[in-house]
């Protein structure tokens, strides 16, 4: 099935991030930032910081003509 057995526990977030590879770049970027922030901050603080990241990514999308 996969190499979960070898990579569990401490590397769990790295494994999750790897699974996000199949998603579009902006979704992946936002998801990774959300996980990274969630490692250190509570939910509300993460949501606040994500607002800025979402705005930045959406602007970039617009700039790329997407």
């Amino acid at each position: 099935m996969n190499d979960l057995g070898k990579t569990l526990l401490p590397d769990v977030n790295a494994l999750i991030i790897e699974k996000l590879n199949t998603y579009p770049a902006d979704v992946r970027e936002l998801a990774i930032q959300a996980i990274r922030l969630s490692e250190s901050y509570p939910e509300t603080a993460v949501a606040e910081q994500l607002q800025t990241i979402v705005r930045k990514l959406a602007k970039q999308q617009g700039g790329n003509g997407l």
């Binding site: 977030n13 996000l20 998603y23 959300a34 993460v46």
Partner: protein
């Protein structure tokens, strides 16, 4: 993690300072320690001391509802001897992990306070011993994080197997599902992912609200519907969980009532008969469901049977025209029309001069149709020919299924009649107490039927919502193509929603994979630990979607209900070993496995397999055993394995305390008894 040594001081039964060495550096491959003692001597107390030292916890999972004030760690006789003076209780643990050595010390002060005894934290210190022999102190604030990185506190309880836990894990009960679910959830360690999902969800909701005030009404409407749909699905899932819990409780109550009823010997045969009939009924109902599902799948094919006579009439009509040469016609209509228009045959003769030939051509003209109509008729003929060929097969299949369904319904009706009859006999039993119990049971069964119906309805509703969700997503995809490119707010909202979906998808995939991985790993252990007979029949351990455990037989059929108490114990040990292996990242289990009286229900072959295999799976095996289960036979097996390093006896003292006494393993054989001695 390998435990080397523990020093306890005034801890529970252990008065004064006492030491236990679990592992000797001179015998690095001897990773088995046996702690031998009667019940109540403090075997579990040693595990408690380790948990206290590592995590500051005094409560073990098996303590259940025992109030905290009753879970004293301080040695009470030391406290009594030391009236009015606090007594220091401490545990010091030396261990290695990933080649690094640690020394951890935790202490509390116990003191009387009126009739109560209070305990206050006194000391917590962790030292790391570097390779050059120097000692570094870990700052107090970092100690918990360091220990958690060595052994996550959320999975710690799995490494003490006691009889109760073993029993609980294999029972088909809510507690079992919760226990396993908690074990796997803790192991997943996806806290950050779950926080991220909720945080992105908040952002998404806020943006949807903002969008609803903008000009993109349709996009906003769709996003809102999707959110509502997801919320409804979440509520329905919760409802289904609640119903499953209620059904589980009702079934447990039925089992309990059955056990009570069995005490009435005069109706025992009726109870057995009822149980068989109920099992049969369940089997028939399952079969009926399966046949209904098959019939549902046949609807598309079988619908043509309704118009079979029309199909055959049309087919035969075209066929007749074909036979007559009208389709396709011998001469093309456009050719005849050209002859009539030119008044000249293809041979050059003038048609009008020959009235018989002219009339013949007019007759041909009537019988022929245009090319497109002919092609359509021929295509229809081919299609109907194909459809017609399957009529026989489909009709047979439908008839067979209908007959099968009818037979099953009739069998169900017969079983229900027999059940009613048996129930009446139980109900009219002279034993009024039995009758009351049976009425109680009947009410429970009725409530299970109602709950099952509620669960089916909720499930159907959930399926409908899922279909609606798919439809909404498709509409959303179209809508976002229209508006998403030019509007930043829409782009933000869509991005947040897509990210939330992506994170949820990863979470689901991850959970599924972990369950599968644990099932596979548990199966490997199970196959090694089972006796020959068990290995022949029992093949796979599965962690179901609802987190219940199941074992499949050689025909891949569920077999948990039929396995023996010993096999259940082996199954639980395999599951916990799989959890431990997964927590140890697939390699050797780097967590010491404590087993409290593990051999109780096991056959000698099972004991033999445990003794031969556990020391190779685990980095350390600490057996807490009584004299009724750890006998000379087991000791001989362990000695032969070459893995047995240490042997301790917990001896009672005159004042009701316990002393830890190390014995040479050779002398252990002299102390232990043979099976015949019992």
């Amino acid at each position: 993690m390998i435990l080397h040594k523990m020093i306890v001081e005034n801890f529970r039964q252990f008065r004064g300072r006492q030491e236990i060495e679990f592992w000797a550096p001179s015998l690095p491959h001897h990773n088995v320690t046996v702690v031998f003692g009667e019940n109540g001597r403090g075997k579990t107390g040693l595990f408690r001391a380790i948990m206290f030292c590592l995590f500051g916890e005094r409560r073990l999972s098996q303590d259940g509802d025992v109030p905290r004030e009753e879970l004293l760690l301080v040695n009470v006789s030391a406290l009594e001897a030391n009236t009015r003076q606090p007594v220091r209780t401490s545990v010091e643990l030396e261990f290695t992990h990933m080649g690094q050595s640690y020394r951890l010390r935790r202490a509390i002060l116990g003191m009387p306070d009126g009739k109560r005894i209070i305990e206050e934290e006194d000391e917590k210190r962790l030292f790391v011993i570097t390779s050059d022999g120097n000692t570094q102190t870990v700052p107090s604030i970092e100690i918990d994080a360091v220990i958690d990185s060595i052994l996550d506190r959320r999975v710690k309880d799995y490494f003490l197997f006691d009889g109760e836990k073993i029993e609980r894990l294999t029972r088909a009960s809510i507690e079992q599902r919760r226990e396993i679910s908690a074990g796997i959830r803790n192991l997943l360690n996806v806290d950050a992912l779950e926080t991220a999902i909720r945080a992105v969800g908040r952002v998404s909701k806020a943006l949807e609200k903002e969008l609803s005030n903008s000009s993109h009404e349709e996009l906003s409407r769709l996003l809102k519907h999707l959110s509502d749909n997801e919320e409804e699905q979440t509520q329905l899932r919760k409802q289904l969980d609640g119903l499953a819990d209620e059904m589980g409780l009702a079934r447990q109550e039925v089992d309990k009532t059955d056990n009570e009823l069995k005490k009435f010997n005069e109706i025992r045969h009726l109870l057995d008969k009822r149980k068989l009939l109920e099992q049969d009924l369940k089997g028939q109902e399952q079969q009926a469901d399966e046949v209904l599902k098959e019939m549902h799948n046949l609807v598309c094919k079988a619908s043509a049977l309704i118009v079979s006579s029309t199909v055959i009439t049309v087919f035969e009509h075209i066929e007749r025209q074909k036979q007559k040469g009208e389709i396709p016609s011998e001469i093309r209509r456009d050719l005849i029309e050209r002859i009539l228009a030119d008044d000249k045959c293809i041979c050059g003769r003038v048609v009008l001069k020959d009235p018989a030939a002219h009339s013949h051509i007019l007759d041909w003209q009537k019988r022929t149709s245009d090319v497109a109509t002919q092609d359509a008729a021929l295509n229809l003929w081919r299609y109907l020919s194909e459809v017609r060929n399957h009529f026989g097969d489909n009709a047979d299949l439908v008839e067979k299924r209908l007959q099968q369904y009818g037979n099953i319904r009739s069998a169900i009706a017969n079983i229900n009649r027999s059940l009613e009859n048996v129930r009446n006999q139980i109900g009219t039993s002279e034993r009024q107490d039995a009758t009351k119990l049976d009425e109680h049971r009947k009410k429970l069964q009725d409530s299970i039927i109602t709950l099952e119906a509620d669960a089916r309805n909720a499930q159907t509703l959930l399926e409908q919502l899922k279909q609606e969700e798919e439809r909404l997503r498709a509409l959303l995809k179209e809508e976002r193509l229209k508006v998403g490119r030019n509007d930043e707010l829409s782009r933000r909202s869509i991005l947040a929603r897509d990210t939330q979906d992506a994170l949820k998808g990863v979470h689901d995939q991850f959970t599924r994979e972990i369950k599968q991985l644990i099932g596979q790993s548990a199966t490997q252990f199970f196959r090694k630990l089972l006796d020959k007979e068990g290995r022949e029949n029992l093949r796979t351990i599965v962690v179901n979607d609802d987190y219940s455990l199941q074992v499949l037989d050689r025909y891949k059929k569920p077999f948990l209900a039929n396995i023996s108490a010993g096999q259940r114990q082996i199954m639980s040990i395999s599951f916990i070993a799989a959890l431990a292996r997964t927590a140890s990242r697939g390699g050797q289990i780097e967590i010491p496995l404590f087993m409290d009286t593990p051999f109780g229900r096991l056959s000698f072959e099972h004991r033999q397999n445990l003794i031969n295999h556990i020391p190779t799976f685990a980095s350390q095996w600490i057996l807490l055993a009584t004299d009724t289960e750890f006998r000379r036979q087991e000791a001989n097996l362990l000695k032969t394995s070459g893995k047995w390093g240490k042997f301790f006896i917990l001896r009672p003292t005159h004042d009701g305390n316990t002393t830890i006494e190390e014995q040479d393993i050779n002398s252990a054989l002299a102390i232990l008894r043979d099976e015949e001695d019992y």
